[in-house]
C-alpha cells in the first residue's frame, strides 16, 4: 500500500517536472518573421521594404559563423542588386567583442547586435549560425541551421533564387 502510494507520488512528480520543461517550437517555413523594428536591435537597420532578406544569426565566439562570412559577403555581392538584403544579427553579449569582430572581418553587408537576445528568442534559433530567408511578404521561406561550407551556400542561393522568383519586385 505504502509503496503504491510512493510510486504514484513519484510518477506524478516526474510528469510534472517533464511537463514544466520549456517547449521549443522553432520558427517554421511560412510563418511571419518577427518584426526587426520591435526587436530593439543595436545598430542601423537597412531598408528591407520590398526586399528578400537573409537574416544571419552569428556571434564572434562561433567558429562556423566566422567561416560563413566570406560566403555571405559573396552572396551580398551577387544578390544585392537583385533585391536581396543581407542582415547579420550578432548575438554577442559584449559590445567590444562585436566591434572587434567587425573591425577584423569588415563584412560588406549590414550588421546589428541583438544585445538582449530578443530576436534570437523569438526565432528560437536552433544553432549558431542560423540563416533565415525571408520573402518580400515578410514570411519565412527557408531556414539553414549551421554552416556546412559550399553545401550551405548552394542551398541558400537556391532559396534566394526561389524567393526572388516567387514575388518579383514591383
Amino acid at each position: 500500500m505504502l509503496s503504491r502510494k510512493l510510486s504514484v507520488l513519484l510518477a506524478a512528480g516526474l510528469l510534472l517536472g517533464v511537463a514544466s520543461a520549456p517547449a521549443r517550437a522553432e520558427l517554421a517555413c511560412g510563418a511571419a518573421f518577427p518584426s526587426l523594428a520591435e526587436a530593439q536591435l543595436e545598430g542601423t537597420l537597412p531598408d528591407t521594404k520590398g526586399q528578400v532578406v537573409l537574416v544571419d544569426f552569428w556571434a564572434s565566439w562561433c567558429a562556423p559563423c566566422k567561416a560563413s562570412f566570406p560566403a555571405l559577403g559573396q552572396l551580398h555581392a551577387d544578390y544585392g542588386a537583385r533585391g536581396v538584403t543581407i542582415l547579420g544579427v550578432s548575438e554577442d553579449d559584449k559590445a567590444k567583442d562585436y566591434a572587434a569582430f567587425l573591425k577584423k572581418y569588415a563584412p560588406p553587408f549590414a550588421t546589428v547586435r541583438d544585445a538582449a537576445h530578443k530576436l534570437a528568442g523569438a526565432v528560437k534559433v536552433p544553432a549558431m549560425p542560423t540563416s533565415v530567408v525571408v520573402g518580400r511578404d515578410g514570411r519565412v521561406r527557408a531556414i539553414f541551421s549551421g554552416y556546412h561550407g559550399e553545401e550551405t551556400e548552394k542551398s541558400i542561393r537556391a532559396a534566394l533564387d526561389q524567393a526572388l522568383a516567387e514575388s518579383p519586385a514591383s
Binding site: 505504502l2 513519484l10 512528480g13 517536472g17 514544466s20 520543461a21 521549443r24 544569426f57 548575438e91
Partner: protein, 79 residues
C-alpha cells in the same frame, strides 16, 4: 499497520525531492546563443600544452603505445 503523520510527511518530502532531482535538468536548457562561455578557449580540455604532454606520456606508458595518437599507422611499429 498505519504509518504515523511525521513519517508520511517525511516520505512525501522525500518523494518530491527525488522527483525534483530527477527532473531538474529538464528545465536548464542552454540556448545556442548563450554558449559564449562554453565556446571560450579556457573551456577546452587541451588548452594547456604541458598538461597535454603529461597526459599523453602517462597514456602511452600505460598502454605501451608510443605514437599511438595523432600518428599515421596502426601502432604495429612497422612504419
Amino acid at each position: 499497520m498505519k504509518n504515523s503523520l511525521p513519517f508520511r510527511i517525511v516520505l512525501a518530502a522525500g518523494a518530491v525531492a527525488t522527483a525534483m532531482l530527477a527532473t531538474g535538468c529538464t528545465t536548464a536548457h542552454v540556448q545556442p546563443w548563450e554558449r559564449a562561455t562554453l565556446a571560450d578557449y579556457t573551456m577546452r580540455p587541451d588548452r594547456d600544452p604541458l598538461q597535454n604532454a603529461m597526459t599523453e606520456h602517462i597514456y602511452f606508458s600505460r598502454e605501451a603505445s608510443s605514437g599511438g595518437r595523432g600518428v599515421g599507422g596502426s601502432g604495429c611499429g612497422c612504419n
